[in-house]
Amino acid sequence: MMTARNRYGILAPPLAMFALLVLLTLIGPMAWPHNAYDMDFAAVLAPPSWDHPMGTDANGRDVLARFLDGGRLSLLVGVVVMVGGLVPGALLGILAARLGGVVDAFVMRMSDSIAAFPPILLAMAVAIGLGGGLATAVLGVILSTLPFFARLMRSETRRILAMPFIEAARAMGASPALIVMRHVLPHSASTMLVQSAAVFGYGIATLAGLGFVGLGAPIPTAEWGVMITDGMPYALTGQWWIAVFPGLGILLAVSAANMLADRLSGLLRGDGEEVRP
């Protein structure tokens, strides 16, 4: 039988990746001599070199400095969108499944109406309506993720509540709240985790799109999404480094999130434990 420590060891690679990204973006800007906003017109669109390992952009700003600085904002935004969508969305889904009737119909029709908008348009509308800026854009993106979480949690809750051990729990006198805590949450955790990891990446990418049209992070701000949209035109003329490095950052962060969610859900299921004595 494998020990608990062995089994949790598979979480180390994705956690290490996250730790690396977080450390880089927290400590990096202090250690790296270049500043994310200083322009050097003597070195515009310079390819990667010892002085500028990720090159410079059209304004002669050091891409590595912007990468380090922007990563902090992007990772934070991804986490905020993920948690901000998961917690209320899951709560609504549980309530809809548990209470049924009018509550269920209300939550589901609200979800339908939100999901009827293309997410980016919804986020734009909310951001504009609330006065623009990164915070309102984040709010808009969170709103667009609510239907995914609510619907998924509702169907998970209904699936789990129909399982035979729920009846056993009710026969022991378990309250609805206890059934949700002890049975519904553990059984839905793996599905919700995988969805959360997807939303983490979606949050970063959607805010990048909003940055492109001038919503979200304002233009000079270093942020991975803004940097990609900034660098896109130059990729066509050969200056690939402006967009590729922040893209690589998003790829790493999203892969780490997915890998973490996948392995964590495997552990929650008890994979790898002996099947018979």
Partner: protein, 261 residues
């Protein structure tokens, strides 16, 4: 101990155009009572309403009409908060292969759950009770860290019984407790249930479809056919000289299964 009086359960049957058709009667005017320290058997084929009766006796399902008395008290309309004592004293044992144990919970957590629900018990006392319950069903103490799917069918059913015993109940509702098990394991579990009953003076409501098993377990047997009691009496009499054609059919079926293996 437990009396079910004139219990009827029907479900509305939806016709092709919305409402219509008369309701389906799953249980039709059934009465029986469970005596202290004795075993009452409800026997019938699947669809006869025996599991619905188990759920009504456990107050998981409300009867359409009729009364459930526990120790003389009418508990039919009681809210969950007033059922706490009943829940402690009347515990279910389900057919374990159907998943009555949460596959994510380890044995210790499964066993202590009824105590956690009842509340007011220190962790150390719960651990003592869990250890005692494992001993009572003759399983090793180190099973506490196991997940249900690492156990055999017989071991799982022992865990189901241990969980039912942990609140020191007075009545067990045994809903097909051995139907999912191999014949050799069935005998072990049935003997264990008998030993526990003798040691603790429990009352059993035994639900099953096999008259041979019922004769071994029960003092009194009632035979259910399509929601109605068609025959009842002392176990030996019902199995030894059945009057009813349906009972004879069940008996044939159980003889056949005896010769099968």
């Amino acid at each position: 101990m437990l009396n079910l009086i004139n219990i009827t359960k029907s479900y509305p049957r939806k016709g092709l155009f919305g409402r219509g058709g008369e309701p389906a009667r799953v249980v039709d005017d059934v009465s029986f009572s469970l005596q202290g320290g004795r075993t009452f058997g409800l026997i019938g084929e699947s669809g006869s309403g025996k599991s619905t009766l188990a759920r009504i006796a456990l107050r998981l399902v409300d009867p359409t009409s009729g009364t459930v008395l526990y120790r003389g008290e009418d508990i039919t309309g009681h809210a969950p908060s007033r059922l706490m004592a009943f829940r402690r004293e009347v515990q279910p044992v389900f057919q374990s292969a159907s998943g009555a144990l949460d596959p994510r919970m380890r044995v210790a957590a499964l066993l202590e759950q009824p105590l956690v629900i009842a509340g007011g018990m220190a962790r150390s006392e719960r651990e003592d009770r869990v250890a005692a319950a494992l001993r009572a069903v003759e399983l090793p103490a180190d099973f506490t860290t196991r997940l249900p799917r690492t156990l055999s069918g017989g071991q799982r059913q022992r865990i189901g019984i241990a969980r039912a015993l942990i609140t020191e109940p007075k009545v067990l509702i045994l809903d097909e407790p051995v139907s999912a098990l191999d014949v050799s394991v069935q005998a072990q579990i049935l003997n264990l249930l008998k030993d526990i009953q003798q040691a603790r003076g429990l009352s059993y409501l035994f639900i099953g479809h096999d008259l041979a098993v019922a004769r071994f377990m029960c003092d009194e047997i009632a035979v259910l056919e399509r929601g109605r009691l068609v025959e009842r009496g002392p176990a030996d009499q019902i199995v030894g000289s059945p009057d009813n054609a349906y009972t004879k059919g069940l008996l044939e079926a159980s003889r056949w299964s005896d010769h099968r293996g």
